[in-house]
């Protein structure tokens, strides 16, 4: 914000004389608006990229007609959606129906404010950055439920309920994993998290404490996939089961808001994952951080975030969909114990260093506690999995035995 003030004063010296609150509002709003503008252009590219990537994976061409190689396809789709009639089916709760996509979009765009694009290139460097990201991205959940409820449609309600359960369940492993870099750095600010990875590729959190951090990254990425309702966790918008899930009844502009929000959330997740594990705006080799006088931080962050977005699209078109209860199983019985175990172990590694002299706390107290906690979690997870397998076997046996038909002659 102060950088904005300085730039503004140098351009328009009169600004220094304005009342303080006006200056504050201006310096806060301008970067946010700039960020919002650039980020809302993003989905245009993402939708086109998704269609082209999915087409090439499916041995076909994708959009080819609208513009050279179909590049104008998304613009045409957006224009079409804006011109479509926004249908309000009979019985919908109008206020909730309209408010839902707005809430979802707000929840998708708000986290962008704290993403650092460079040393000072950040709309707001909150010292509770990561916490803020998690908090505001939960606003979308409320919007989803509102969409399902207000649609006056059983299928939409199904989708909304599934979605709410899924998002809430997967937030917990995500939070736990976010704790891991925070423990290493000791700060919630995204800028501090990025700077702690300075010095080159080997300092990135992904490559430290091998193999714990890669596992943490995978868990975070999986949990994030589930939060953005992307395959293999796209049960809420399971096309072949519920037509379109919670946004079945939306058309026109409101539908485009949901669409926009989904792709923006994907980008937000990728950007946060890049900041947490892949070094944020730092280049893999420090020499590449600047191209002459031009800082390349924004390029590196975009590159990493877009690479992760590509991986998300890749996964969507490769993997089938998990069923709702299997989703829950993965969240609660697999990801949660792993993430808790990681917090315990990495926390132990960070907070229990060997003392120079005196009692070796790490060897006799720290490590046993850490390993006991991790072991307990592992045992719990294995017992849960074993219980699951036994239950499935029993259900299958029950399905066979419940049929009362005469024995077939052999």
């Amino acid at each position: 914000m102060d950088a904005t003030y300085r730039i503004l004063v140098s351009l328009v010296p009169d600004v220094a004389g304005w009342p303080a609150w006006a200056v504050a509002v201006l310096c806060a709003a301008l970067p946010a608006l700039a960020c919002f503008t650039f980020m809302s252009l993003g989905p245009i590219g993402y939708v086109y990229a998704e269609r082209k990537i999915s087409a090439f994976m499916q041995d076909r061409l994708g959009p080819m007609r609208v513009g050279p190689y179909g590049v104008l396809q998304t613009i045409a789709d957006t224009v079409k959606l804006l011109f479509k009639e926004a249908i309000f089916p009979r019985g919908v709760d109008r206020r909730l129906f309209v408010a839902a996509p707005l809430l979802v979009s707000v929840g998708a765009f708000l986290p962008l404010v704290v993403i650092p694009w460079g040393g000072r290139l950040q709309p707001a460097d909150l010292n509770v950055g990561v916490f803020y990201v998690i908090a505001v991205s939960s606003i979308s959940t409320v919007g989803l439920i509102m969409a399902g409820w207000a649609s006056n449609n059983k299928y939409a309600l199904f989708g909304a309920m599934r979605s709410a359960a899924q998002i809430v369940s997967y937030e917990i492993p995500a939070l736990m994993i976010i704790l891991v870099p925070v423990l290493i750095v000791g700060s919630l600010s995204l800028q501090d998290l990025t700077l702690a990875q300075a010095g080159g590729l080997h300092h990135w959190f992904l490559f430290r404490y091998f193999p714990l951090m890669p596992v943490a990254f995978l868990v975070f990425f999986t949990a994030g996939l589930a939060e953005t309702n992307r395959a293999p966790f796209d049960i809420p918008e399971a096309e072949s089961e519920l037509v379109a899930g919670f946004h079945t009844e939306y058309s026109g502009f409101f539908f485009s808001l949901f669409f926009l929000a989904e792709y923006t959330e994907m980008f937000v997740l990728s950007a946060v994952a890049s900041v947490l594990f892949l070094g944020g705006y730092l280049a893999p080799i420090p020499a590449l951080q600047q191209l002459g006088p031009v800082p390349l931080g924004w390029f590196w962050l975009l590159f990493k975030a877009w690479a992760l977005v590509f991986v998300m699209m890749w996964l969507r078109w490769t993997l089938p969909r998990s069923r709702v209860d299997q989703l829950m199983h993965i969240a609660w019985k697999v990801l949660l114990p792993i993430s808790l175990g990681l917090v315990a172990v990495v926390g132990g590694l960070v907070l229990w260093p060997a003392t120079r002299g005196g009692f070796p706390w790490d060897r006799w107290v720290g490590w046993p506690i850490t390993l006991a906690v991790a072991g307990f979690l592992l045992v719990t997870m294995l017992r849960a999995l074993h219980w699951d397998a036994r239950r499935e076997r029993e259900l299958a046996r029950g399905a066979r035995g419940a049929v009362a038909v005469s024995r077939v002659s052999r």
Partner: protein, 192 residues
């Protein structure tokens, strides 16, 4: 087992309730008295030598011109154990035909019998859920009977559009408006 042996086993078990047979046909069959069909079916399935555990097809056929005019229900049976086939026939009067259901013997008969009821009007007594299956629930009549006449209207829609529309058009009634004006008198000057 071949067809004469199967027929022999059935005749031995049921005597004169097996009223006829044609064992030289391409698909040999035996004719069973209608009221006995459920028992015969159960016997066919349970008897270890016959072991007809599969009902391949259940068809209704309408013979109005035969003497006597009748409707038949034909059961084609197959045994997975012995790999032999046989057919049973039941002959029913054409007015309110009724025959016991074999749903309890072969579960697939449920839907086959619903279809026979739907298209022929053969009532299967003891069926758990005898209602129409292929035709709409409010359809009247049983179309596969040989004396079926198409109705004029169904729920306000013409059933035979060609003839009716022709009559209306020749009677001068306009068909369509504006660019879709297909009234024969107005169309003669249009392009070929």
């Amino acid at each position: 087992m071949d067809a004469p042996a199967i027929h022999g086993a059935l005749a031995a078990a049921f005597g004169d309730r097996i009223t006829g047979a044609d064992l030289a046909a391409v698909s040999p069959f035996a004719i069973v008295e209608p009221l006995a069909i459920a028992e015969v079916a159960a016997f066919c399935k349970a008897d270890p030598a016959l072991a007809f555990d599969n009902l391949m097809c259940l068809s209704g056929v309408d013979y109005p011109k035969e003497t006597p005019p009748r409707m038949e229900v034909v059961y084609h049976l197959f045994s997975y154990r012995h790999r032999h086939t046989f057919a049973l026939k039941v002959q029913l009067p054409r007015e309110s035909p009724a025959v016991p259901s074999v749903e309890g013997v072969w579960a697939v008969a449920n839907w086959h019998e619903r279809e026979a009821w739907d298209l022929f009007g053969i009532a299967f007594t003891g069926h758990s859920d005898l209602r129409r299956i292929l035709l709409p629930d409010d359809w009247e009549g049983h179309p596969l009977r040989k004396d079926w006449q198409d109705p004029e209207y169904y729920n306000g829609m013409h059933v035979k559009p060609t003839q009716q529309m022709q009559e209306r058009a020749l009677g001068g009634e306009p068909i369509g408006v504006g660019p879709f004006d297909f009234t024969p008198a107005n169309r003669s000057q249009e392009e070929p």
